[in-house]
């Protein structure tokens, strides 16, 4: 068994697994399970990236997708307690039609991929060059922080904007009366006394007396 066949087999495994997980993402009923399937996709794609000698991107994908984005999804589901609510009908009426169109589109992609791709000129970053830089990470760093420094910095602006936007969007909650857990103990006690019409002279004076 040559190493080429071995690598092809490994690719086949990762590719198949990621496609299967991807199908699970859109097929499973329970969103939590969907999110976990997405994690499976990301992991197997990381394997694909390692196969392509893009180790940094493999790790970055796991850190960002698995470590941040999908966790965020899970958090949202748990905060909203979605899992139990949406048990009615999961698929849209247009599903059969959409699947047909999707299949046609996929076939078109394959036709285009198989026959018409004209490979452009080879770029400057040959494997020898990458090795000369000290590996994938260093090579990527060279490209990212030399040639594409400005876009990289602009991307950080995008992230900042997204953070601010997310906070602004998620904060605007309808006004509700505060629940007791959000108050300090003494404040809460004062309210209780108020309700019970206890005269102020009969109330304990300080937080120590209440035991706050």
């Amino acid at each position: 068994m040559t190493s080429e066949t071995l690598l092809t087999l490994i690719f086949a495994y990762f590719a198949l697994a990621s496609v299967v997980f991807a199908v699970l993402v859109i097929m499973l009923r329970n969103p939590v399970q969907c999110a976990l399937s997405l994690v499976g996709v990301v992991f197997h794609l990381a394997g694909i990236f390692i196969l392509l000698r893009a180790e940094f991107l493999a790790a970055a994908h796991i850190i960002i997708y698995a470590g941040a984005i999908i966790v965020l999804f899970l958090f949202t589901m748990m905060l909203l307690n979605i899992g139990a609510v949406e048990r009615v009908r999961q698929f849209h009426v247009q599903a059969p039609l959409a699947i047909v169109i999707g299949a046609i589109l996929f076939l078109e992609f394959i036709v285009l991929t198989g026959a018409t791709i004209t490979i452009g000129a080879q770029g400057p970053h040959s494997p020898a060059w990458v090795a000369g830089q000290g590996g994938n990470v260093q090579a990527l760093g060279q490209v990212l922080f030399r040639d594409y420094l400005l876009p990289f910095e602009v991307a950080s602006v995008l992230l900042t904007a997204a953070v601010v936007g997310a906070i602004v969007l998620a904060r605007q909650r309808p006004r509700r009366p505060r629940s007791s857990s959000e108050m300090g103990v003494s404040e809460w006690m004062a309210e209780r006394y108020e309700k019970a019409n206890v005269r102020s002279s009969n109330r304990p004076n300080s937080a120590e007396e209440i035991g706050d």
């Binding site: 990236f49 893009a54 970055a60 997708y65 698929f91 992609f109 991929t113 970053h125």
Partner: protein, 102 residues
């Protein structure tokens, strides 16, 4: 050289892309629609890296970093919208979210 040939990676990317697209089209749960969008981005990433390696050009890999940034930003804002929406409407069903006015 790239093993197996570039076409395999492109087909994989296309497959993920189409699956994500179908997810957007057929699912009624907004959260899963969002996950499908992540799938689309992942498919694009595979294509990027495949081309980057096949063409010996690091730009493809650098671009994936930006794609990741976009994915993270999109997830943050999108989920914030979902949270605000579900507080407001008590549903995540896409079919019921069909007015522009809150």
């Amino acid at each position: 050289m790239i093993i197996p040939a570039l076409e395999y990676y492109l087909v994989l990317g296309a497959a993920l892309f189409i699956i994500g697209l179908l997810g957007v089209l057929v699912r009624r749960n907004l959260l899963i629609v969002f996950m499908s969008i992540e799938l689309i981005l992942l498919g694009a990433n595979v294509t990027f890296v495949g081309f980057a390696v096949a063409l010996d050009n690091m730009l493809g890999q650098a671009f994936v970093i930006f794609s990741l940034t976009v994915a993270a930003a999109e997830a943050a804002v999108g989920l914030a919208i979902i949270v605000a929406l579900s507080r407001h409407r008590d549903t995540l069903n896409v079919d019921e979210i069909n007015t522009l006015k809150g």
